[in-house]
Subunit: 281 residues, 2 copies
Amino acid sequence: MCELLGMSANVPTDICFSFTGLMQRGGNTGPHRDGWGITFYEGKGFRTFKDPKPSCRSKIAELVQNYPIKSKAVISHIRQANRGGVNLENTHPFTRELWGRYWTFAHNGQLSGYEGLHSGSTRPVGQTDSELSFCWLLNRLQERYPEPPQDMVGVFRYIAECCDELRELGVFNMLLSDGEYVMTYCTNHLYWITRRAPFGEASLIDEDVTIDFQQETTPNDIVTVIATQPLTDNEEWFRMKPGEYNIFHFGELTDGNHDALEHVPYAEAKPRCQAPTEPLE
Amino acid sequence: MCELLGMSANVPTDICFSFTGLMQRGGNTGPHRDGWGITFYEGKGFRTFKDPKPSCRSKIAELVQNYPIKSKAVISHIRQANRGGVNLENTHPFTRELWGRYWTFAHNGQLSGYEGLHSGSTRPVGQTDSELSFCWLLNRLQERYPEPPQDMVGVFRYIAECCDELRELGVFNMLLSDGEYVMTYCTNHLYWITRRAPFGEASLIDEDVTIDFQQETTPNDIVTVIATQPLTDNEEWFRMKPGEYNIFHFGELTDGNHDALEHVPYAEAKPRCQAPTEPLE
């Protein structure tokens, strides 16, 4: 099983706090020893830091934790490999250009019978089902919209339909961003929280770190964090349901197919730092 | 004027020594204050470190200098902007996927009348003539070879023909790699050196650093370094001529269109740490 972490915000925000929690799961409080990566958008550009080494022992992860890079859209992933070797070409997130913007993708789960996914002109470089499904999504988009579309929410709704097809092949939890929007798609494990004024304190589950967001923010800040499992134990996270998607635009939930939002009780968030029993990426 | 740095090697080799010299030119011994970037291939995957800040003051550049990442193909660039704002989407190198491999590109120079370059399905994200010419090259390749070609030297020869067309639009010095091959194309400033046994000492022009390669290498290592200007003052670098291209494969020169190789005398390598007078990127 892999872990996903995403952020969508209306002002450039650093993700050091959440990233510190996530990185502990890379070989320390969690079993995800097979590499990690994080992509920060800054304007239309992006920076990715990646390492096929465990995140809890990575020099580069240490830099990312201590050097605040401010961004409005972030996608991060730590990996426990199932399909594809432990190497850089199989390390998420994956980024490709489409319609003159960079798209970034990270996946948690495992697919079967995916060999039939038509690959088109965007081809995978590595051997994971994850990268293949990303290429397939981009090829579907390019077929449907040969020219850059205007209605981006419509585009993400179409992506959600494609994700429904991928979910038929197995477990498909996804984070996807074009730098402006951050989209989530859930098969079984995905949680999110939107923080806004009045801000309070939050304490990490995976490390003895507490942050007072009021000291770090202005009253207009809106910041959504998405994760495979809640990262803090004193806040209420929303749990996504199978087949649910959400589209965040600069921190705000702007579209989704949920009937009602469901909070996770604290007690359920607590015991997540155990080795998973499911054979998921 | 920007500065290019490339490496091609037959064993995974760190580029810390050359990078240390280059980074001083980013605002210290040179005027290239508008960002820097470096791409390391590792197998079929790659890692890019980038910053729109001057390299001589960048925390990330410091990490890259001190944390040896070993690679057989490296492309690096420091920027003095002419076309396009100082931001991440305009920071070289640029990487795109074609035929299931990642291609990485960095450019030094400035083009005029490039608006007519047909852009095809690979589109630029930023505003530089450099990224546009990279997209144009990839679109030309995709048109000519819709399926992944076998004869890669033939592909690079075709790229050289396309570069001849770009050179008609202005100054086009280029580094390009698919992770296996490193290609150089020269309009006016590009030098290279191949180091192999018996290895000697080298001392940087830009900083008071000397390295004894014999301590760092094995007798079978072959390492080629390419740069806008020689980086060391006690070795003989080859100077490329206008319209010349070279193709390096794991350290060895395997193809090119030069009549004779020309060494640069030490005296000429020395005075490079002055602000350039030409309006080049």
